[in-house]
């Protein structure tokens, strides 16, 4: 009976896993085929003519895809790093302490996830202009924090809600300094949350379009800007090629952090706490 149950369980897990992979990978296959196609029309199952033109364009100086790839990686990493810096203390405060006006703070932090960006982007633009932050990479990194920080804070609040600060007191009573306590006790305990929250923050920053365009003033050309040019104009071949490059960092990071994303991770389990 017991054995039967676990067999059922594991085959169920295998099935859902296979389904999930199909669901994630299947849409990418036409994208990959399109990037090598010269014309692909219904009802042909495969393109009649193949071409490397789209990839040649994607790697040319004119398209600027490679420069833009490095720039986008830099911006997203910086935005992720800053989100962690802000999100960890904020998550600790929200997850562990009760204080006056806590729900108001929670609402304010969640606001960028609720209010559609397009509604506030022109207002943000004028604020950034008056602060002299437009047309520069630091300005773009800063504006990306608006949508990334809520994810980070939310995940960290969940982590800290399940966190027992008695471990810290124990370390301190054994003579560890505050930085040592943080490094050896707190950080390992909250690491899964930092990874999951950081992954969210990276991917959210990675996909920003309108905020980057307005605050960057066209000087800061990230990959989504190049991608949407072709996606909206119906050039499936070039969209496919840039799209394949575009999803690469996300996949790499996903693979590197996959073990922290399983259902057994405290980071995911603690999500419901806030």
């Amino acid at each position: 009976m017991q054995r039967n149950g676990s067999l059922l369980g594991s085959s169920f897990r295998f099935l859902t896993g296979a389904l999930l992979i199909t669901w994630l990978v299947l849409p990418l296959i036409p994208l990959a085929i399109w990037s090598f196609a010269k014309g692909w029309f219904y009802p042909s199952l495969l393109p009649k003519m193949w071409s490397l033109k789209a990839w040649k364009y994607a790697f040319s100086d004119t398209s600027g895809v490679l420069d833009s790839l490095w720039l986008t990686i830099g911006i997203s990493l910086a935005a992720t790093f800053l989100s962690v810096l802000v999100g960890v203390p904020a998550g600790r405060a929200l997850g562990m302490y009760q204080f006056k006006g806590k729900s108001a703070v929670e609402l304010l932090i969640l606001a960028p996830m609720i209010v559609p960006g397009i509604a506030v982007v022109l207002g943000i633009h004028s604020v950034f202009i008056s602060m002299g932050l437009t047309n520069s990479v630091p300005g773009v990194i800063l504006v990306h924090l608006i949508p990334t920080i809520p994810y980070m804070v939310l995940v960290m609040a969940g982590i800290f809600a399940n966190y027992d600060p008695a471990f810290e007191s124990q370390a301190r009573s054994l003579g560890a300094s505050a930085p040592k306590t943080f490094w050896y006790v707190t950080l390992p305990a909250i690491m899964p949350g930092i990874i999951v929250g950081g992954l969210f923050a990276f991917l959210v920053s990675w996909s920003q379009y309108i905020l980057t365009l307005l605050i960057g003033g066209g000087r800061v050309v990230t990959l989504p800007l190049l991608l949407f040019n072709f996606a909206t104009s119906g050039r499936n071949d070039i969209t496919g090629a840039i799209g394949m490059i575009y999803i690469l960092p996300g996949i790499i990071i996903l693979i590197l952090t996959a073990k922290h994303l399983s259902g057994r991770s405290g980071a995911v389990g603690g999500f419901g706490q806030i």
């Binding site: 219904y42 004119t62 910086a78 790093f81 004028s126 307005l214 003033g217 119906g234």
Partner: protein
């Protein structure tokens, strides 16, 4: 640990920040009437940020490689091409800057523009005006031609410089359709006889809107009565007939007209995948590029209508707060040159029609223009030119778009 990382981040972000521009030529008034040598000298070593629709690799290559190459080699100017998905994005940047009081350090030096966006720029005081005579190649532009001097009925008044001309054309697949409809009247009958095989993008899409205007002209029995200022009585009379025609047509459209494509790109995909049998575009040369790029089947053929199709001119504009006006002027002058207009007209480069008066260029350039073999599948320019219709004033256009949304698209 955190501190080092933070400093590393700051250092790396600083190194990514754009370098400051050396020569500031934001004061446009002082440039007007200056000698061309002075202006090119002021522009030398600087940069120019040109915002334009970026959805075509052919156009991107022409701009970045050909035009950018000339600017670099002959004038030592760095051309920064900023690709847009929609021109209104650039207009919004300039608008936002004006509202925030950025009067001379704008981020946009030039925009590829026409129609509604030009009207916004001109009426909002967002354009740098009155400089066109300063450009040496302005003499190649025929400003006496009302189709050049007016951008969708709005007088240009020296606030922009023409770049290309375009004329609406249809296209069909010779492998699927034997005889396509060659007038708006025939098209309506054809669509009813072939249910589900025709549709048009919902206005205010640029191309959908111009298709509806063709029906509007058809309902009015010609365009002559519609030219000039907006006339509510005339509009009401023609609009009623137009909505009746389009509502009557709706059940015969793709998906019984319950939904319309939202963009021309979406309709072109429907056409490419045989869902609909006709497509159209304000840029007739697009058929050639689309075949070469595999977007359209190679059996696609462009054509004009016997009762005429609407033509327009598109322009480049310099925003009032551009800090690199001298470089933008040099760029506009290069774009207007016979050589650059010729290159743009070559079918494997772009194939779009010159906005300059070719007869005013050198004999050599004229001979090369005459020798251009247009893409065989593109509607011949001469055939289109025989039946060219003017655009209406912008007030008519917005009334028609609004009326369509209320009466047909609801």
């Amino acid at each position: 640990m955190n501190k080092t990382l933070k400093w590393a981040f700051l250092a790396s972000s600083l190194s990514l920040a754009p370098l400051a521009v050396s020569a500031d030529t934001a004061d446009g008034e002082s440039l007007i009437g200056k000698s061309w040598e002075d202006i090119t000298a002021m522009a030398r070593g600087g940069e120019v940020n040109w915002f334009l629709w970026g959805g075509s690799d052919n156009i991107n290559q022409y701009v970045s490689e050909y035009i950018g190459g000339i600017l670099k080699e002959d004038y030592d100017i760095k051309l920064n091409r900023v690709g847009l998905s929609d021109t209104v994005e650039a207009v919004n940047i300039v608008l936002g800057e004006k509202e925030s009081g950025v009067m001379d350090k704008g981020s946009v030096d030039m925009i590829w523009i026409n129609g509604e966006n030009f009207r916004t720029m001109k009426q909002g005081g967002l354009a740098y005006c009155g400089y066109t005579d300063t450009l040496p190649n302005n003499k190649l532009v025929n400003w006496d031609n009302p189709a050049i001097a007016n951008d969708f009925g709005v007088p240009v008044d020296g606030c922009e410089v023409p770049w290309s001309k375009a004329q609406f054309a249809f296209a069909y697949d010779t492998a699927r359709t034997e005889t396509p409809p060659r007038s708006i009247g025939e098209l309506i009958d054809w669509a009813k006889a072939n249910p589900g095989k025709f549709t048009y993008p919902a206005p205010p899409d640029f191309n959908g809107s111009v298709f509806v205007r063709h029906v509007f002209y058809h309902a009015a029995g010609g365009v002559d009565n519609l030219l000039g200022d907006f006339d509510q009585a005339k509009f009401d009379e023609v609009a009623e007939k137009t909505w009746a025609i389009l509502n009557d047509l709706e059940p015969s459209l793709w998906r019984e007209g319950k939904t319309y494509p939202t963009s021309i790109a979406a309709m072109e995909q429907l056409y490419a995948n045989s869902e609909v049998d006709l497509t159209f575009n304000y840029e007739p040369a697009g058929v050639g590029l689309n075949i070469e790029n595999g977007v359209f089947p190679p059996t696609t053929q462009g054509y004009g209508l016997t009762d005429g199709t609407i033509g327009n001119t598109n322009y480049t504009i310099i925003p009032f707060n551009s800090p690199n006006k001298a470089a933008a002027l040099v760029l506009q002058n290069v774009l207007l040159s016979g050589e650059a207009q010729l290159q743009k007209a070559l079918p494997d480069v772009w194939g779009t029609k010159a906005a300059i008066e070719v007869s005013r260029t050198s004999d050599d350039i004229q001979a090369k223009f005459a020798a251009i073999k247009t893409h065989p599948n593109v509607a011949p320019a001469a055939e289109l030119a025989k039946a060219a219709l003017p655009e209406l004033q912008a007030s008519w256009i917005s009334a028609i778009e609004k009326g369509w949304i209320e009466n047909v698209g609801n």
